[in-house]
């Protein structure tokens, strides 16, 4: 009965979403508060209903109820409990359910925290949110119903794709979806503004925190996915420019641009129309990502879906929302009020620069991702666009952008002083120069590009700290006062610094790995040793070690340097009989920020030795550590008190007017 209750709850949620997509809109049109308010409750109720449906599916998975087709296809009674739970979203139907769950979650957050929003804006936002929800609920119920039943129930399930049987599945998709779907709020706000034909002053203040939340999750989700692919696939790479990765990277680039342009809009009421367009584009790219992954047009581990009806359905949703949004934009953009003016050299100018490069970069990735698909459809040719294309296009776009990052926060609003900013960055320039010379000396002058890469990374690291250092005015006021000033700085300043610093950290990791990585592929028998990057690896033993639902060949290596044993690594190959698939569990030894990475290949003919792939990856972990800094920066920025003041409190008494703010408004 639990399964069917979940099924019914999902259908009821669709019904409620349809309700929510009409009534608040009518209310906003007619100025009827009652109709507008139904949206708030419907959004919350819809979330509760989808949560019930989701719990029902989790229950079916946990109890191995193979009378549910989805559970039969993706679970197995021998599967460890953790994967029984995470397996819920390790497949097409379940992951779509998670997608709408998160969508409804964001909708209910807007409903709950949006008390201070202008009523019509809130009603419109909730209605748009409900359109998206209804479209995807319909998609789920008609083409990918996770509650499809089987009778009689088979005795045993077909097990989950072994690659997905990892702790990564517990974290990566939820984070990624929180990011993807979080941008829907910015989208809904944009559409709501277009419907109303006016942009409220509160608009930007509201859009920025929502974008920030989505951006934090997306950043961490992408990073987590990258690390997961790194250790699970056994190829030793951390980014493959795989279409699925690109699908998540494009909204990230556009979302980062949105974050910055929303800043301009919030502070200066400029770039309004552009911000609206960017909000539409960002979520459109999220939808595109969902389409690419869910429709099965790509062939990779993520593309579970093979049914073309699904692809066409999502394509229709995609066209409806992106096309509709852009049409509405074209219709209404001219009637929107433009914003303030600013000089090209100013904080606004810098942020426009940022936007230009980020959106161009997103467009580049879009071309690289879609071109092979279009070619395959039109010319029936299969090509793959990989790292060389992106290195040539995306790379050069990033260099000027990264170079400009430290300047941005140092420029004043409206009119900036470029020369002054450059002068204040002398310390960062010194660091960069030192890095340049250091690397050149280390490599004997042979790796000029590498040296510039390191210089850029140190420029970013030192440059982002410069802003904080100057704002605290350590030099002018001395350490004591400087420290207290530092503590008093708005949190968003820390957010900026942390995020930009994290960018530098990631860049450092990327440059280091791509320049100084060493790779060794050899066949080894137990007892043999291999040398890499000054370490000696000894192949100690190999043995059969079976798990609950797999058979594994586990190998042990010990790492020595100068005869001293430093660590032992376990690495294995697992064979999953139910799916007839093999996975690699790479052995990784982390020392400081660098790693030694060992993975097993196939055994030799006589089964006496086995192919072993060994990588030395200097500073590789910085790539992911940097993203943690970025996420942390986002959290700091989100925690800024001022963002919450953004939607003004109704009771003005508590508003703590520190200055002589004219008490206009209350009487109006």
């Amino acid at each position: 009965m639990i399964v069917e209750i979940g099924h019914f709850a999902l259908v009821l949620a669709l019904s409620v979403a349809l309700f929510q997509s009409v009534l608040p809109l009518v209310g906003a049109r007619q100025g009827d508060q009652r109709l507008m308010e139904t949206g708030t409750i419907a959004a919350t109720g819809g979330f509760v209903l989808i949560a019930i449906a989701f719990s029902a599916l989790v229950t079916a998975n946990v109890t191995s109820d193979f009378s549910v087709l989805n559970v039969f296809e993706n679970s197995n009674s021998a599967k460890p409990m953790l994967y029984k739970v995470t397996g819920v979203w390790g497949n097409h139907e379940g992951s779509m359910l998670l997608w709408v769950l998160i969508l409804a979650f964001f909708g209910s957050l807007v409903a709950l925290f949006g008390r201070d929003l202008p009523a019509t804006l809130k009603a419109n936002v909730l209605a748009v949110q409900a359109w998206i929800l209804a479209a995807f609920l319909l998609f789920i119920l008609l083409t990918s119903n996770p509650f499809q039943r089987l009778d009689p129930a088979p005795m045993e399930g077909q097990d989950l794709n072994p690659v997905l049987q990892d702790i990564g599945l517990a974290i990566h998709p939820p984070l990624l979806y929180l990011g993807y779907v979080g941008f829907s709020v910015a989208f809904s706000f944009a559409i709501a503004a277009l419907i109303d034909g006016r942009i409220d002053a509160a608009w930007a203040r509201w859009v920025r925190p929502w974008t920030l939340i989505a951006w934090i999750f997306l950043t961490l989700g992408i990073s987590m996915g990258s690390y997961w692919a790194y250790y699970e696939l056994g190829w030793g790479g951390w980014w493959f420019w795989d279409p699925v990765e690109n699908a998540s990277f494009m909204p990230w680039l556009a979302g980062t641009a949105l974050l910055h342009s929303a800043l301009v809009m919030e502070k200066r009421s400029a770039l309004k129309i552009w911000t609206i367009l960017l909000a539409i584009l960002t979520f459109s790219l999220s939808l595109l990502g969902t389409f690419l992954v869910r429709s099965g047009v790509l062939t990779s581990v993520h593309a579970f879906a093979t049914d073309p009806t699904r692809g066409i359905f999502i394509l229709c949703i995609l066209c409806l929302f992106i096309g509709g949004a852009l049409f509405l934009f074209a219709l209404r953009a001219s009637s929107l009020e433009g914003g303030g003016l600013f000089a090209p050299i100013s904080r606004e100018g810098a942020l426009v620069f940022n936007n230009l490069f980020l959106t161009t970069a997103a467009a580049t990735v879009l071309v690289g991702t879609l071109y092979p698909l279009v070619l395959e459809v039109l010319a029936d040719k299969k090509i793959s666009v990989g790292a060389p294309f992106f290195d040539l296009t995306f790379g050069p776009l990033m260099v000027p952008l990264l170079f400009a990052v430290p300047f941005g926060p140092l420029l004043g609003w409206k009119r900036g002083d470029l020369l002054g900013a450059a002068q204040r960055l002398y310390f960062a320039a010194g660091c960069a120069l030192a890095a340049l010379i250091g690397v050149l000396a280390y490599t004997g002058g042979t790796r000029i590009l590498t040296a510039f890469g390191f210089a850029l990374a140190f420029w970013l690291l030192a440059g982002s700290l410069t802003d904080l250092f100057l704002k605290a005015a350590f030099l002018r006021t001395g350490w004591r006062t400087g420290l207290s000033r530092l503590v008093g700085l708005p949190r968003s300043t820390f957010g900026t610094t942390l995020a930009h610093f994290g960018l530098g950290v990631t860049l450092l990791g990327i440059v280091s790995v791509s320049s100084f990585e060493e790779e060794l592929i050899t066949t080894m028998a137990p007892g043999q040793t291999a040398e890499i990057a000054g370490y000696t690896l000894t192949f100690d033993s190999i043995a059969q070690r079976d798990g609950p639902n797999f058979e594994a060949q586990a190998a042990q290596f010990s790492i020595r340097r100068g005869g001293v044993e430093l660590a032992e690594i376990d690495t294995s190959k697992r064979f999953f009989p139910v799916r007839q698939m093999t996975t690699t569990e790479s052995g990784i030894w982390t020392h400081w920020f660098s790693q030694l990475y060992v993975s097993l290949g196939d055994p030799s003919e006589d089964r006496q030795s086995i192919v072993v792939r060994i990588w030395s990856k200097p500073l590789v972990t910085l790539i992911w550590i940097g993203t943690i800094f970025m996420g942390l920066g986002g959290v700091f920025s989100l925690a800024d008190r001022r963002l919450r003041v953004g939607a003004p409190a109704r009771n003005k008494g508590k508003g703590a007017g520190t200055g002589g703010s004219p008490a206009v408004g209350a009487g109006a």
Partner: protein, 421 residues
């Protein structure tokens, strides 16, 4: 029923909740969007002052920012005044009535859509079937697990070992599961507790014969003889006694016993072929001509193994996939005891016995051909016996039986490839 109550309750709660605001009398908002703008700009001004106090913004910059926000504030408050001045911008009474109608229609649509849509795609009667539940034997379901059943019965008998009927039920199952030691023990217990009976002694004899690899030992013979004392027409006991005579090459005794058995057996008795083969062998030894006009083969009803236990149903014999899901469909292959017995027979007898069983299988498949495993076994048997032509005929028959694109046909084809036909 419980499902519908829960579903209805859920729908009622949701519908009432989202309809709640419509019950309010007044629908007018508290503030216009313009007033809201004013509040936002005022808050921005306060924030600017805070920044200035902290020194994060230069005084000159702050002044120009304040001027700009001030300008916006002024404009917004003018607009707000204009909006209020122009009277209520919101629709009047009739508008509200209209939106009430919209609201009520929408509210009614929620349960209607939900139930109609769910009705077309849901399976409200299908209960949950978690693994834990399906592992229990379910009455009316035939896919229960024999091993689980036995475990349960054993547990019960451990706590209550004096339960004679429990032993009686368990004993033939042990025999079927190829656990003759346990079977013999269980039959003995059943005899002790429930008193002697032909079927109990017969079962004991069969278990004992199986323990010794199919040879009818003295102990087993005694058991069969006891069974015959209790029920002189107990055919399974007669079968094994005849087998014993054949095994010990008492040709005359064997001839009498086999022909007696054949005469008494029903025409569809599963052991007839073996009996005829035994009789032929005995007569050959005695130098007599084979019996003319052998009995017509059985009617194809897959019946019990010779020593049928009290409730021993149709699927005796350990071979074949019967345990997994057979409902008595399909010939279950030669009974283990019979196979063991065949191993003891002289060469000619063994051949005859096997051929007898094979032709019985062929007959069965003519009656109920929908049995892939049966066809495969028949084809394999013919191949093993070196009867390639008959194997080919059987293969052709099997192909005719199943539609060309069915899974069964593919299985048959793959099997034919595998054995090289």
């Amino acid at each position: 029923m419980v499902f519908w109550i829960v579903a209805a309750a859920m729908t009622a709660v949701v519908t009432l909740a989202i309809g709640w605001p419509l019950l309010r009398r007044d629908g007018r908002g508290e503030g216009s969007a313009e007033e809201h703008d004013v509040e936002v700009y005022a808050a921005q001004l306060r924030e600017l002052d805070g920044d200035l106090d902290r020194g994060t913004i230069a005084p000159g910059e702050a002044a120009s920012a304040r001027a700009e926000i001030g300008r916006r504030l002024l404009r917004a408050s003018e607009r707000a005044k204009a909006a209020t001045g122009s009277g209520a911008p919101l629709a009047g009474g009739r508008g509200f009535q209209r939106s009430m109608i919209v609201g009520v229609v929408a509210i009614l649509a929620v349960p209607a859509i939900a139930f109609a849509f769910y009705g077309s795609i849901g399976a409200p009667r299908l209960p949950d079937q978690p693994l834990a539940l399906r592992e229990q034997p379910q009455p009316g379901r035939d896919d229960f697990d024999l091993a689980t059943l036995v475990d349960k019965a054993e547990a019960r008998l451990r706590t209550n070992p004096e339960d004679g009927s429990g032993w009686e039920v368990l004993a033939p199952i042990y025999l079927r599961m190829n656990r003759p030691q346990d079977a013999a023990e269980a039959f003995r217990k059943a005899i002790d507790l429930n008193g002697p009976s032909a079927s109990r002694f017969g079962g004991l004899g069969e278990a004992l014969a199986e323990i010794s690899g199919g040879e009818v030992t003295g102990e087993a013979k005694t058991a069969f003889e006891r069974a015959l004392q209790l029920n002189p027409s107990y055919l399974p006991a007669k079968f094994f006694l005849a087998l014993d005579a054949s095994q010990e090459q008492r040709a005359e005794d064997a001839e009498t016993r086999w022909s007696g058995l054949i005469a008494e057996s029903p025409k569809d008795a599963p052991w007839l072929r073996i009996a005829e083969a035994g009789l032929a062998d005995a007569r050959q030894r005695l130098g007599k001509p084979p019996v003319a006009g052998t009995t017509t083969p059985g009617d194809g009803v897959a019946a019990a193994s010779p020593a049928a236990g009290p409730d021993d149903g149709a699927d005796a014999g350990g071979a074949g996939p019967g345990a997994a899901g057979g409902t008595g469909t399909g010939f279950q292959g030669p009974d283990a005891a019979a196979m063991a017995a065949a191993a003891q027979l002289p060469e000619g007898d063994r051949q005859a016995m096997i051929e007898g069983m094979v032709s019985q299988l062929a007959e069965r498949l003519k009656q109920s051909p929908d049995d892939v495993e049966g066809w495969k076994r028949l084809i394999r048997s013919y191949t093993v016996l070196g009867k390639t032509d008959e194997a080919k005929t059987a293969l052709a028959d099997a192909r005719k039986t199943f539609p060309a694109d069915s899974a069964a046909a593919r299985e048959i084809a793959a099997f034919a490839d595998e054995i090289g036909l």
